[in-house]
């Protein structure tokens, strides 16, 4: 994250995105998550952004999908809290742009006693936590 982004976005918003309270939020239901994961564009968004945060424009170069499709999938992924949005300075034109990062490590479906439950493990990556620690100093 660059310091300039603090001018545009209040610090509290930025920390909210990485707040560990995400782990206790209600998990979306199986239909929603499975339906999203069935979609190739949604999967590509998750796999590509897991390597580095990406803007919608960067995602368009990676996915074989139209801009509106990518935006729709991003919105659906955000509704399920599988992806988070941040603002950062654009190295190309100096303005700010929105980048997306996954908020997901593992999805588990458990079958027990006549119940099928879906749980989402959102623990933060070790290197991201390390970065937050150093940048917060």
């Amino acid at each position: 994250m660059h310091s300039a982004s603090a001018d545009e976005v209040p610090i509290s918003n930025l920390t909210d995105l990485f707040d560990d309270t995400h782990t206790v939020s209600e998990d979306p239901d199986i239909e929603t998550v499975a339906g999203l994961l069935e979609d190739e564009t949604a999967r590509t968004i998750l796999t590509q952004t897991s390597q580095e945060p990406m803007s919608a424009r960067m995602l368009k170069q990676q996915c074989e999908a139209s801009g509106p499709t990518i935006y729709r999938r991003l919105e659906q992924l955000r509704e399920c809290d599988l992806v988070v949005e941040r603002t950062e300075p654009d190295p190309e034109d100096g303005h700010h742009r929105k980048v997306y990062a996954p908020n997901l490590r593992r999805v588990t479906v458990a079958l027990q006693d006549g119940d099928m439950t879906l749980s989402i493990d959102r623990r933060e990556d070790m290197s991201d936590r390390f970065t937050r620690l150093i940048e917060g100093m």
């Binding site: 580095e52 945060p53 991201d128």
Partner: protein
């Protein structure tokens, strides 16, 4: 005979240092990954500092096998210089605005 034992002990100690180096390099790897994933320049210099300080044990171990005759004073100056450079990298990373 006496020096033989001394040499073995020295090699064992240096091999043990490699274990510590492996953990240090793991931290360097985490920092580098943090730099890549979050575009954070301080993490790059942190990774560089950790790599220099802890990664040094590996080539030093190799060099001590290749040139056993080099005086400990020379190798100590060599190691110390790189450690100082590594610490300066970390201080620079911490001073930097993210």
């Amino acid at each position: 005979m006496q020096t033989e034992i001394g040499n073995t002990a020295r090699l064992a100690l240096q091999a043990y240092e490699l274990v510590g180096a492996a953990f240090g390099l793991f931290i360097a790897y985490l920092a580098y990954r943090g730099y890549r994933r979050n575009d954070s320049r301080p993490m790059l210099f942190l990774a560089l500092g950790f790599s220099i300080i802890f990664g040094l044990a590996v080539p030093v171990f190799g060099l001590s096998l290749a040139f056993p005759a080099v005086s400990p004073v020379v190798s100590q100056i060599f190691i110390q210089t790189f450690e100082i450079i590594g610490f300066l990298c970390i201080i620079y990373a911490l001073r930097m605005e993210p």
